[in-house]
């Protein structure tokens, strides 16, 4: 991924975060919203590597904490780890348009929930028990549905490259 596309991708993630709290917040099912920023972080980190991935995750997480009721550092820690883990697949796993991004996003959402549960158990215990409920299943389903669409958009605007030099593991 070249530098220009990297910067454009980073700006796009921050714009998506603002939109996620405003216009995109209206798209929900039973009060649960998809996590567009998480999906974009996973897809971009796969193309940027672990260092850029965790930096992107840390910075978007901090901004998300500013905009949310969550304690400062909560989302930054979770997204740093997810950005790092997604970045470690750089050059190792080939991203097809549908199947592999969905697997990544599914795992990413599960990791996010697990980390949320662990952090909330330590810092805000009364919230921890509400993580693994039907709301998680709805969020996973919505994230999976949105993933191919976001992947296509990122490909069309050239943030993600059309050709991939990665080899299949």
């Amino acid at each position: 991924m070249n530098k220009k596309n990297s910067y454009f991708g980073i700006i796009l993630v921050f714009i998506t975060l603002i939109l996620q709290t405003t216009i995109l917040a209206n798209i929900s099912f039973k009060g649960i919203k998809p996590d567009y920023v998480l999906i974009m972080l996973i897809l971009l980190s796969n193309n940027m590597g672990s260092i850029k991935g965790q930096l992107l995750g840390f910075s978007t997480g901090i901004v998300e904490d500013f905009l949310s009721l969550s304690p400062l550092g909560f989302n930054s820690l979770i997204k740093t780890i997810i950005g790092y883990l997604s970045g470690t697949t750089y050059g190792k796993i080939f991203l097809d348009p549908i199947f592999v991004p969905i697997i990544f996003v599914f795992l990413g959402t599960l990791i996010k929930s697990l980390l949320s549960y662990l952090l909330l158990s330590i810092f805000i215990a009364e919230k921890a028990e509400f993580i693994f409920t039907s709301a998680l299943l709805i969020e996973i389903a919505l994230n999976i549905l949105i993933t191919p669409l976001l992947y296509l958009i990122l490909k069309l605007i050239r943030v993600l490259p059309f050709s991939n030099n990665s080899r299949i593991l």
């Binding site: 905009l67 949310s68 550092g73 930054s76 805000i124 009364e126």
Partner: protein, 281 residues
């Protein structure tokens, strides 16, 4: 001999990850320690400007498109409203008679007069980006007289219902924690039977509230559909504000109190405007 510089250069990615995690942990510890952590407030102030901008822009476009259809709708609504006004004029006369009787009865029971409150109205401009926490951002802040812990209400379907309280303010915007958040507790009371309890949420906008610590003696006098209001006892919320209606009554054998499921009077998924209670007249 161990060289930290070489170690960091060799394991650059892992070192950076460790640093980011450490900083995040430090931030969470300080944030949840209930310190007045200025960086979060500063960040909220800066980024809430983007939320205001996006919301204003999208409102402009949606209002422009909607106004065309609105004109036709408004004409038919006006005709209906004129009929209602006539009906209310008749009701007003009987209401005045009832009010006079109420005043006389209250004087006899030596009750305090009903308080009148001052409100500031606000529009919801943003929602919490995640699903773990439930909050709104409104377009009024400290410059409009909003302070932390002010109660927030809304009108919907003829009810003035409780929405939550102000938890954070910036110069132009404020953040509200909703009563459906599972860390939000409201001292509440059953309107008819007058039994007290404590109500909190389950964390999802479409879920019910849970009212705990209601005495088991209340079971016989409770029915589904009974209204729950704020009790006003040692609470930031004044008494008598509608919270919801009983949807389910649970009588656990191992507990000394009832557990009631309350359906909020306010539909949080369609809320657009709120009222912040700023004081008493």
């Amino acid at each position: 001999m161990f060289n930290p510089g070489n170690f960091i250069r060799k394991y650059k990615s892992a070192s950076l990850l460790f640093l980011c995690i450490l900083i995040s942990f430090l931030l969470i510890s300080l944030s949840t320690g209930k310190l007045n952590f200025a960086p979060k407030r500063l960040g909220s102030s800066v980024f809430s400007i983007f939320q205001l901008t996006v919301n204003s822009t999208s409102n402009f476009f949606s209002n422009t498109f909607n106004s065309i259809g609105e004109l036709k709708k408004l004409k038919s609504e006006q005709e209906l409203l004129l009929l209602k006004v006539q009906e209310y004029q008749i009701r007003d006369r009987s209401f005045l008679e009832l009010k006079e009787e109420n005043i006389r009865l209250r004087e006899q029971l030596d009750l305090k007069k009903t308080s009148n409150f001052t409100f500031v109205s606000a529009e919801i401009i943003a929602h919490d980006p995640g699903n773990t926490f439930t909050s709104f951002v409104i377009n009024k802040g400290s410059s409009h007289g909003i302070n932390i812990n002010m109660p927030v209400l809304a009108y919907q379907d003829g009810f003035q219902g409780l929405v939550g309280k102000v938890i954070e303010t910036t110069y132009l915007t404020s953040k509200i924690i909703l009563i459906i958040d599972n860390t939000s507790y409201v001292a509440s009371r059953l309107l008819e039977s007058r039994y007290d309890g404590l109500t909190n949420g389950e964390g999802v906008k479409t879920s019910n509230l849970i009212m705990n610590y209601v005495s088991k003696n209340a079971r016989k006098s409770l029915n589904e559909g009974d209204l729950v209001v704020t009790s006003g006892m040692q609470s930031i919320y004044p008494g008598g504000i509608y919270i919801g209606r009983i949807r389910n009554i649970d009588v656990p054998e191992w507990q000394t109190s009832l557990v009631l499921k309350i359906e909020p009077v306010i539909d949080f998924t369609s809320l657009e405007y709120v009222l912040i209670l700023t004081g008493e007249k």
